[in-house]
Symmetry: C2
Subunit: 146 residues, 2 copies
Amino acid sequence: MTQNDASWTERALRALSEAGFRSGGGRRQVVDLLGEEDCALTALEIDRRLPSVGRATVYRALEQLEALGLIQRVDVKGDAAGFERVDPGGRHHHHIVCQQCGRVVAFEDDRLEQAIIALGTRPDFTVSSHEVTLRGECASCGLQSS
Amino acid sequence: MTQNDASWTERALRALSEAGFRSGGGRRQVVDLLGEEDCALTALEIDRRLPSVGRATVYRALEQLEALGLIQRVDVKGDAAGFERVDPGGRHHHHIVCQQCGRVVAFEDDRLEQAIIALGTRPDFTVSSHEVTLRGECASCGLQSS
DNA sequence: ATCTGTGCAAATAGTTTGCATCCTC
DNA sequence: GAGGATGCAAACTATTTGCACAGAT
């Protein structure tokens, strides 16, 4: 996935510059990290992994990236919001979360996507994105409680 | 829906009592309110609507009701967690959220449910619930920005 | 030189916890 | 009477904002 990641990072940096943002060091590090990571990170996780970047900068960068459609917010981390990159071509995954240990696993399913696309044509709403979250118990947690 | 709501309220009160909880006044009001409401409420909305009930009691009641499977948490209210009752018979809805004004509309779709049920049979996870959220722009917000 | 980006610290919003008291069983 | 239920206030966690300064253009 390294090649794909690199392309997201490039695309993000280009989009930021086209949107008139200057290229400071803090946001750049956030972009690099999000480009390397395949699944959701919380703002605080990013802040912890980038000790030289201020917390406010992390939140501001995430806000800007989300507004440009480069990342999306997902609800898989409990209290905190998770953020993950939006890859080009509409290809994306959804999440299954263990309610015991919090483990998050990604999955893709064409049939599910078809069903959701069919739902997207509504008179009262223009649907631009969707999120599916499955919740349950992962195999290792299941063993322990039995 | 009045009859259905009443039955959820009854069922919830019975389940609480069977679980060994005493019948205090605060939790009772929370249960009544959730039984009357068809879609998600946040803890603070409930707290505001029940001035005689302490905030901590609201959160504690929600925690207990969720643990008993009587309500579920949904991510449609932005920062705050939304809670809505779980109706018997597995019948349930999902949500579409306007990213401009925050309006939430519920919908049901059999094809979507079928696709998700098919996904539920996984070796590594026992899926017990799922949540689908569509995001976009509602008709009235769309008019204003055009 | 100008004006954006950044870090720090203070302020908010949502949620949880400690504790004394009230009330159910 | 004993122990759970409740309200209030303090504590916490996640997020946002104010502000002075560094750095990009």
